[in-house]
């Protein structure tokens, strides 16, 4: 194991005392020892420096200082020989001569710097003085180090960074925005501190960039381009791909369902970032017949299903049956539902060009929403704009309506209207992860755990929660933060700082949230944006959407891949190749095979 320089030197030095006691090596503090050696060597060598700078006192002080500096400039004093050190030090004579003799000494004497060719030639003897000083310093430093090793033992035994007696285990549950951002910030905050270790549990081995999920469902982006491997995003966090099956807050243990029997994972600090799942409000029939739209496999499923129904429609001779195949129903008029309806509309209408017997008029993309207007997160004018543009592009809206029932081949609305369809996608509402709902702590009506403004659970100061699965009060407004990626990311930063503050015994920060705004794509090169109270729509908002989310996408490599996909899309049609076998609207039962691992 190589020597560890730098910021973890303090840890090394602390552990070195123990090491020395065990091995009988010198107990002299290495920093003091180095400084004393440097002081001696610098002072002894300054005999050459005194003539170079023309002042004995100044030369002695400068020599001593440079001597100390020199021993700290070389981190690993044990490697290299006297000739290595002498040659390296000799190279330093030039900049020091130039800085001190040519610039600082004349300027301090009220003269102009002596850096012309004639001046330099005049000061040439001083350069020789500096050279002699540094050669002597380098040689002497190495010689005295050996003498000191002989009498006091090795200075740096270079042990492997020994594991501390007690490691603080920070366990993060969830590999979404909240979990990964927390882990990344914890890594930054604790840097080289070996007394803390992080473990992140996620059901997939990648971090999904959900704002671009619609583009996967609409065949605009390659699925792997919006998912970043967790192990490349996080440098010192142990990543476990596993499903959490239970949390014991008393014993401080997380139960994991790995491929064998259940295993328990102890924690000192636990971060709950498990996110949310679709909320069917108890309609199990709807859940059985609807596509979900939460994960990458959901998006790939939808894409392949859309291509599949096109293939079947092309061969279908019954007009009613064909109409059902080409009808797509999206339940929910929030961001997800609107973006998905807009994306599917573009994808499906574009695909009709490749199917000779199908025309755009055969297609129906229906968005069902329970309220009077879509996009409640945006202002009314932008929501109206979005609805109008989507209607112009062929999307049908069923407002003030709810999906009351669903069965294979049809969806029934609250008004009694029955829509024949083979594609029904549910985006109407979410609830906290079931594992969070089982915890013996207070929850809100969505099942999210209640936390205090520092993001800690009220009765468990070392259990923290954030993101969609937590009800986080905003200290600024007194309201509950919205369950968005933006809020989760900011909560993660605050939470990481609070964990560190907790470990160090410092005061915790309260979370304050001020939304920067919202962006929503509603169709081809059309979007709505509300940034810091300013409203944008159309092409500019769409460019803004792409610019903002491309910058937020983690990793340069992913950015380049997505940018390439977007550029290619300008010149070529979207891909309509079915990439997985699809066996009818079996929906949820085939999901495990599709989960990216």
């Amino acid at each position: 194991m190589p020597d560890l320089p730098g910021s973890i030197a303090v840890n090394r030095i602390t552990s070195q005392g123990n090491q020395n006691q065990r091995t009988g090596r010198s107990l002299v503090n290495p920093i003091v020892r180095r400084a004393l050696l440097g002081l001696f060597c610098g002072s002894a060598s300054s005999v050459f420096l005194c003539s170079a700078v023309g002042n004995v006192g100044f030369g002695l002080c400068l020599g001593a200082l440079l001597g100390i500096g020199q021993v700290f400039a070389f981190f690993d004093l044990e490697s290299g020989s006297a000739i290595d050190r002498a040659m390296t030090c000799a190279a330093f004579s030039l900049p020091f001569w130039a800085t001190i003799n040519l610039i600082l000494l004349p300027v301090s004497a009220g003269q102009v710097p002596q850096w012309t060719a004639a001046d330099m030639r005049a000061l040439f003897p001083a350069l020789i003085g500096w050279l002699l000083f540094f050669v002597s310093l380098g040689t002497l430093a190495q010689a005295t180090r050996r003498v000191s090793v002989h009498f006091f033992g090795p200075e740096s035994p270079r042990p492997a960074p020994s594991a501390p007696a007690k490691m603080t285990q920070i366990v993060i549950l969830g590999g979404g925005f909240a979990g990964v951002t927390t882990a990344a910030h914890l890594e930054k905050l604790f840097r080289g501190d070996p007394t803390v270790c992080f473990t992140l549990i996620s059901e997939t081995n990648s971090w999904l960039f959900t704002p671009m999920l619609v583009e996967v469902a609409a065949s605009g982006l390659d699925p792997t381009h919006i998912a970043t491997p967790l192990r490349t995003s996080l440098k010192r966090t142990r990543v476990l791909r596993s499903r959490v099956t239970g949390i014991d807050l008393k014993l401080r243990q997380v139960q994991l369902n790995e491929e064998g029997p259940q295993t328990g994972l102890h924690y000192d600090h636990l971060v709950l970032a498990l996110g949310s799942v679709s909320n069917y409000s108890g309609h199990s029939v709807i859940a059985e017949n609807a596509f979900e739209f939460k994960t990458l496999s959901d998006a790939m499923h939808i894409r392949n299903h859309v291509i599949d129904v096109f293939e079947r429609a092309e061969a279908e001779t019954d007009p009613e049956r064909r109409r059902a195949l080409l009808t797509f129903v999206v339940a929910g008029g929030g961001f997800s539902g609107v973006e998905l309806a807009g994306g599917l509309n573009d994808f499906a209408r574009g695909m009709t060009a490749d199917y000779l017997s199908l025309s755009p008029a055969d297609l129906r993309i229906i968005l069902v929403h329970s309220r009077e207007r879509i996009l409640p997160e945006l202002s009314e004018s932008l929501a109206d704009y979005a609805r109008q543009r989507m209607q112009e592009r062929g999307v049908t809206f069923k407002l003030n309506e709810r999906v009351a029932d669903a069965e294979p081949g049809s969806v029934t609305l609250g008004s009694g209207e029955k829509i024949a369809t083979e594609t029904f996608i549910w985006t109407a509402g979410v609830t906290a992860s079931p594992i969070l709902q089982q915890l013996p702590v207070p929850h809100n009506d969505r099942g999210a755990v209640l936390v205090d403004p520092t993001l800690a659970l009220p009765d468990y100061s070392q259990v923290w929660a954030l993101g969609d699965g937590a009800s986080v009060p905003d200290t600024n407004s007194g309201k509950i933060c919205p369950p968005t990626a933006q809020a989760a990311t900011r909560q993660a930063v605050c939470l990481a700082k609070n964990i560190r503050a907790n470990l160090l015994g410092h005061r915790l920060r309260e979370f304050r949230f001020r939304s920067l705004g919202s962006l929503c794509v509603v169709g081809h090169q059309t979007a709505c944006a509300e940034i810091l109270g300013l409203k944008f729509s159309g092409l500019f908002a769409w460019l803004l959407w792409r610019g903002v989310y491309l910058s937020k996408l983690p990793g340069l490599e992913r950015k380049m891949r997505v940018f390439t996909d977007w550029t290619l899309e300008l010149f070529f049609t979207r891909d309509s190749v079915q990439t997985i076998d699809f066996e009818g609207p079996g929906l949820r039962q085939s999901e495990p095979e599709l989960t990216l691992r």
Binding site: M1, I8, A98, T116, R121, F124, G192, E557
Partner: protein, 468 residues
Amino acid sequence: MKKAIGCALAVGAAGGALFSLVGLVTPVIGIFLGCGFGMIFCLIAGRRANTPGAGLLWGLAFALLFWLLGPATIGSLFVSRLPGPTTMLDTVRARFPDLVGYLLFFGAPLGICLGTVNRFPTLQRVRADKFDLSRAAVVGGLSGIVGGWAFGQWMAKVNHFPLIAGLVHLSSPNAGVALHFVFAFIIGASFGLFFQRDVRGYGSSLAWGLGYGIFWWFLGPMTVMPLWQGRRLDWSYQHAQELYGSLVGHIVYGLIVGLVYAAVDRLWTTLFIESDPINREPEAPGSRSLQSIGWGALAGLTGGLVFLPIIAAATGLTNIAGLVGSTSPAIGLLVHLLSSGLIGISYGLLFERESPDFAAGIAWGLLYGLVWWFAGRLTLFPILQGLSFTWTHEAAADALPLLVGHLIYGAVTALVFLAFERRHRDWLLLDPRFAARLARLRRPAGTPAPALWFFASGLGVLLQIILT
């Protein structure tokens, strides 16, 4: 060891004999001096000369140190009891032929011979280094041709090609051009053969090229060419002054050879070795480069701010603004900071993972500052102003104040860059796999890097003071 001492004594004595033939010392003193030099070199730095390339650099650095501490310093004491500045410089100039002799007859042959002798016991290690003869010669030769093209621009300008053609009793410039490229190829190939094991990245290769270029100036135009033409050797500083343009040309040639060699070599490594998933590293080259660009820009800006008072006092910011056709000091400040940032970025890309500690960082930074004085101030700056570059000692004397600034800029940039690099590296070191990889990539003790730092930066600056 006995074999090495015997070799050192023999080569030293032969070098001393040759030294006496130049007329600088009597044969007895020459042989005595050579044997003494060989013995001291063998005892102090002999083990460092474990390959011919490493030996060459240690020999050259040792010869320079020997000359500086011997004739240049002690020699002046014999001239006068109270050596004043003028006396010492006069002595140094008068002893300039000794420097050439020390480098060519003592340092270089001793280093190469000891490196060859010491190479055999370490043949196992050499094999482990995977030295590739054909790659070294071909890549080195190709980079020599590219460097030769750049050097050829100056040679064409001063009508030097007929002189080169005269070496084979021709007078046609085209023959001179052809011969020039033959020499460029040979020197480039020898660069690869000597230094393939030692160069690790673009930055170190650039610095190796700088040192090798200086060495070839002493060997080529100062020594071999007059001998080939049947002329008497003239190693006086006045003659060296006349060849100042050739010195800059050799340095620029060396820099290009070093850079191109590293680029092609790295390309080879990237395409055929690092692209192999077995050799994959946790951080992809693209991510590393992006980090280096950011850190380099910040480091360069810091260096530029330190350099600012010097450049403002030495030439004025309006001079810099002239690069973009302006006379405003504010524009000059912007151009200066922009160019500082860009050079900082190039430092980051060229020298990433080269410095294990601050001492090494400062040394690489000094060399990079020196490189930009030659490549930037003496060459690119006039070209960007729409003028022709003049590699004369008068032009170099005018630009000498900025040499100080360039050295300081390089050192500060390197220090700040290393601080960023270490900050990032330290917490990654908790991963033992990363620590092991870093240890493998780090330049180990015993490479000729310290010799190169002293030789290239020492002579790079000293020659400017002595010759301008």
